[in-house]
């Protein structure tokens, strides 16, 4: 268990730095989480994060990598609809790293 400070607010996290309470998420904490990993969130990152949050809202789970790449491809053009592009943005893996910044729980299982 840990905590993250962002803009004067304290957020509780689990052992791996994922938000303990999904409802406590806001843009400030996403920025701070990314800074901890030496990552600056650009508009490109936010496109992915926003999609993840929308998908989660509807399905209560992060999208499969393939669903994510397809959605990003539709939105931003075919050249970006691939996992290479997503790994460039989120080198620790789009499923895990992007989920973390989006305030979603970590995908579990054999993934």
């Amino acid at each position: 268990m840990g905590t993250i400070e962002a803009n004067g607010k304290t957020y509780e996290t689990d052992e791996e730095g994922y938000l303990a309470d999904l409802n406590s998420w806001d843009k400030d904490v996403a920025d701070v989480m990314a800074k901890i990993d030496d990552c600056d969130l650009t508009d490109s990152h936010w496109e992915v994060i926003n999609f993840l949050r929308e998908y989660y809202e509807e399905y209560q789970i992060a999208p499969a990598v393939r669903v994510l790449t397809k959605a990003i491809g539709k939105k931003l053009g075919k050249d970006k609809g691939n996992s290479k592009y997503l790994y460039e943005l989120f080198p620790y893996g789009p499923a895990k790293q992007a989920c973390k910044y989006a305030g979603l729980p970590k995908p579990t299982g054999c993934v």
Binding site: Y59, R66, G109
Partner: protein, 496 residues
Amino acid sequence: MADFEIPQLKEYPVIPTIQEGVMAHSKPFVAKEEFQQQLGFPGELVDNWQQVAYDKMEELNGKYRSLQVFLDSCVKCGACTDKCHYYLGTSDPKNMPVARQDLYRKVYRRKFTFAGKYFPKLVGAVDLTKEVLDDWYSYFHQCSQCRRCSVFCPYGIDTAEISMAAREVMDCIGVGQKYCNEIIAKVYKIGNNLGLPEPALADTLEGLEEDIEDDTGVAVKLPLDQKGAEILLVTPSADFFAEPHVDGLIGYAKVFHEAGISWTLSSHASEAANFGMFIGSYENMRKVSLRIREAALDLGVKRIIFGECGHAWRVAYSFLNTLAGPFDFLDPKYPVPQHIMEFTYDLIQRKAITLDKSANDDMVLTYHDSCNVARASRMGPMPGGQFVLPREVIKACCNHFYDMPQDTIHDATYCCGGGGGLLTDDLMELRVKGAMPRMEALKHVVEEHGVTHMAAICAICKSQFTKVLPYYGFKMDSIVSVHQLVSNAIVLGNKQ
């Protein structure tokens, strides 16, 4: 890239000089109270934990005769010492299988043998102290239960069973591992390891149908909860989510399509994996297994086929009938259960599908035998079928295939480094180091034969390699599903 030293790949395997205690710090996160309780275990370390542990050990002695035989019969010959990938990758002597077994054996001796009760010092018997418990938690979570050591043990002692027993004892005193126990709780609550609810699964499958049609012009279906289908496919939920797993799932769908047979997935049994085995819990393993029986009955299928998942196939092949049988309601003409590899192999033998090998000409392939398939199960009608069938299917799909060195394949295969409930980020150092022997063997065929891709039939292996390959200078996508190769090569719409 990493805050630990990545092992060097050598030209030929070298047994490392021991470095005592270098992996003592490696411990997975402890399971939270709520997950412990959902599995029927105490939420946290119980007050009289030592006595509870001894009682549990006594129960296991009576329950699993094999366990007691393994604990009594070791003669310390040393044959196993250099056979564990975690020892070879970490140099920590407690990762020698005999030393790992002895962590449990020394307590067993103290409580349950004459010599240990009266002359403990003479036979290295000790009480289960907090220090010993800490060692258990650390080193029984540095065993992937791959059973390579047991192949080389003259007595056939199976360290995996001792690891499972130790984890069961720890769970029963309230010290469970987060990764496994959280996942089993998810299976009970949602139906699969991922926590993928039915609407998300339906949406994912629909998306895949679109993709296949865009790609091939053929409407290949991935049916969900279709009553009256001939076949129920039970596959790891990673097949719905991760790469390259999902390409394998597409492959199964195309094979069923070409075979012209009706099949369905189940939202109730949307997981082949059974982590109950990793934690040595018969009750949890049974509860997870029963979902498959329930789904098969509910959907009225005639056959059950398992997708590419290593330990699921061990549970299915070796234990399913005892855990969830009898399956007298299924068609007795077919094995219960059947592996997707058996199904595809049979179609290839009968020339019932057409495969265009040139579709995989951009790859030079090798095959990683997954430990639970290789050493704990079989496939097809012949001994060793679990080695033959996947290779024959691969060779039917591609023109370029080379095996890795003999002492690293078949029943001597090395674990991917992430099996047995260790595929979690909090054990990344262990996973990277434990992959070293497999990476060394891969490097050999890369240099010798220009191998570009390694195929596997286990969701854990695929995810583990995706993660660890880059640490050794390989591309993350050089791991592929066997049915991904089938998917590339299969000619659709050919058979009526």
